[in-house]
């Protein structure tokens, strides 16, 4: 049985088939990239997994558990974290506050305890803070801890989003275009981090990406989509040479 599995996943908006009977599996500890032209349904698949959309049909399994009907907030609790294509950070909060929200799925304190800020709450806060600090160190975010998001440049925000996802200590992370809007150096950093996430933190990565050099550098396997359908699946080189993929990108 595979670690994460989508079976015949479909998402239809009226007659438009954004995702059409897509099946794929992710093995534990691998980096799987989804590529495809604009509108191929890549982000829609992510939104289906994180339950922002409800699939028209099909099922999603994670660790042999059917998560198709789980409410969105439970997806994170199961250990699936994600980033967004158009950054979705908490604009008017500090970087630390943003990252601490990432720890939300691990919070155990009750409302009345928090109102009184009992020692147990304080101990929990420190624990969260320590975990957040590890992520800050991992992603070199030390200079920004107390800065407001609204004052930070795009590249940094992108990293903070990744950091927030990592703070939840996910088993599977969904990266929606991690390199979009980043310059060459930042993209390089990103590719190292994605590699390290796999090797050091043992996180399985599912990623949507347009930058083929990044895809080639980090991916174990690649899926190519077009018009909501799977065109090809395999190693990065295989997929890029697949005639259907070439046709989809360049026109036949």
């Amino acid at each position: 049985m595979s670690y994460f599995r989508a079976e015949n996943l479909s998402l239809h908006f009226g007659g438009l088939k954004a995702v059409d009977a897509v099946s794929f599996a992710v093995e534990k500890g691998e980096i799987l990239s989804i590529i495809g032209p604009n509108g191929a349904g890549k982000s829609s698949i992510f939104n289906l997994i994180s339950r922002i959309y409800r699939p028209t049909s099909g099922r999603i399994f994670f660790e042999d558990q059917d998560i198709t009907e789980e409410p969105p907030y439970d997806i994170a609790r199961l250990g699936i974290a994600r980033t967004f294509q158009n950054i979705e950070l908490f604009e008017n909060a500090t970087v630390l506050a943003n990252l601490l929200v990432g720890r939300h799925r691990h919070s155990t304190t009750q409302l009345w305890q928090e109102l009184l800020f009992l020692p147990s709450v304080r101990a929990n806060e420190k624990l969260h803070r320590r975990r957040v600090e590890q992520v800050i160190e991992f992603l070199d975010l030390e200079p920004y801890r107390d800065k407001l998001i609204s004052g930070l440049p795009y590249g940094v925000r992108k990293v903070i989003e990744l950091a927030r996802a990592l703070c939840s200590e996910p088993k599977l992370i969904l990266l929606d275009e991690p390199s979009s809007g980043l310059n060459v150096e930042e993209t390089d950093d990103m590719s190292f981090w994605i590699r390290d996430m796999k090797s050091e933190l043992g996180i399985t990565v599912l990623m949507v990406e347009h930058d083929m050099s990044l895809v080639n550098r980090v991916s174990d396997r690649v899926i190519a989509l077009n018009y909501g359908r799977v065109l090809a699946m395999g190693s990065p080189a295989e997929v890029q040479q697949h005639p259907d993929v070439v046709a989809a990108y360049l026109g036949a």
């Binding site: 997806i75 979705e88 630390l96 929200v101 109102l115 009184l116 806060e125």
Partner: protein, 383 residues
């Protein structure tokens, strides 16, 4: 300027970042404690209202400022707290019991209002909360067996553990102050815990909050309930302070006053609630003063500029007529809101921060420091 060197995670958690805060808040508390023995009874009465309004302001900040759910129905929550107190007092329930009962009941009703509000956003939520306030107002007027209808209800003098606490005594002021301080401390505690961060997350991006594991619906309801409960507590004090309550006290205008409290104080910090409360409580006597004295002053000015006695009297009468127009107060409130939103969106507390920074950085202060930063691409699709 003071630089903080953080050496411990507690440095990020503690309420007072450095000793300067302890000194200044200590002084403030000391001043507030000796105030009743120094100030005139009129100012004391105003100070009690500041405490009550600030408590409601904090409640509204939790809901509107931190969770991002606008409400124009807080007068109704205040009314529910006040009427619960008045009703239970009739049956000789002791103060601590009906005080808690009022908070709990209001909190429960707040949660019930929160549920339909889950599907509403922005302006629609405002309309829903206004409707709720009107419904409550109407119920208070019609449910005569409990609320005594439009005749209103009297509230007897507060008696706390057998000791009478008259509404203009220092003890009553200390009670209101204690409720305010406890509310502020509780709210600050909440804001530095997971719940408070979840509120802020919901305000800034529901999609992201959801995908980080925040149960958005649950936390919105929690926010409504907490906010309503605090307002209910304030309602009990409000009822005791006025010693008489009737439905027409809890109108839309009162809800708007509460919105003014946080809008003018500043919606991003609890300081705003207190500053806004001072503003709203003090503007009322100021408007009354203008209304009484303005016509005379203008007539005097007109006279010095050569207007005859008859013309001056004419001017005075016209200005007086204008000043006593119905609904003028509401119009002035409207103008105040518009001016603040346009020219001082961070409110009085924002202005204070600017002044503070000006002196800290003198002569290097830049006005642009507080300019709102450009917000990059942000998708509204996946709300």
């Amino acid at each position: 300027m003071r630089f903080l060197f953080k050496t411990d995670y507690d440095d990020d958690i503690r309420l007072f970042p450095h000793s300067g805060y302890v000194v200044s808040y200590g002084l403030l508390i000391a001043v507030l404690l000796i105030a009743p023995y120094v100030l005139s009874s009129y100012l004391m009465s105003q100070l009690v209202f500041v405490c009550i309004y600030a408590t409601v302001g904090v409640a509204l900040l939790i809901l509107t400022g931190f969770t991002g759910q606008a409400s124009l129905g807080h007068a109704a929550f205040l009314a529910i707290g006040a009427y619960t107190a008045a009703y239970l007092q009739k049956y000789n329930v002791p103060f601590p019991v009906y005080f808690l009962a009022a908070g709990l009941l209001t909190g429960l009703i707040g949660a019930l209002v929160g549920f339909p509000a889950l599907r509403l956003q922005g302006i629609y939520l405002v309309i829903a909360t206004i409707s709720f306030a009107f419904i409550v107002e109407e119920i208070l007027a019609r449910w005569e067996s409990v609320t005594n209808g439009n005749e209103g209800m009297r509230i007897k003098t507060l008696s706390l553990l057998g000791v009478a606490v008259p509404r203009d005594s220092p003890a009553f002021y200390f009670l209101c102050l204690a409720v305010l301080v406890l509310t502020i401390v509780g709210t600050l505690n909440l804001l530095r815990s997971p719940t408070g961060r979840a509120f802020v997350a919901i305000r800034d991006s529901e999609t992201a909050a959801r995908s980080m594991g925040v149960n958005v619906a649950l936390y919105k309801v929690k926010s409504f309930a907490i906010s309503a409960a605090i307002t209910g507590f304030a309602g009990v004090l409000f009822a005791h302070k006025l010693s008489f309550i009737s439905p027409e006290m809890f109108t839309l205008q009162l809800s708007i006053e509460f919105i003014i409290v946080i809008l003018i104080g500043g919606t991003f910090s609890l300081h705003g609630a207190v500053l806004g409360a001072i503003f709203i409580v003090m503007i009322d006597p100021f408007l009354t003063y203008l209304k009484d004295d303005m016509p005379g002053i203008i007539a005097g000015v007109a006279a010095t500029f050569g207007a005859g006695a008859e013309a001056a009297a004419n001017v005075q009468a016209k200005v007086a007529a204008f000043a006593s127009l119905n609904g003028l107060k509401g119009a002035i409130y409207g103008v105040i809101i518009v001016l603040f939103v346009l020219f001082e969106p961070l409110g009085l507390y924002g202005r204070w921060l600017k002044i503070k920074l000006f002196f800290q950085l003198f002569p290097l202060y830049k006005r642009a420091t507080f300019k709102r930063q450009k917000i990059y691409v942000k998708s509204e699709r996946n709300r």
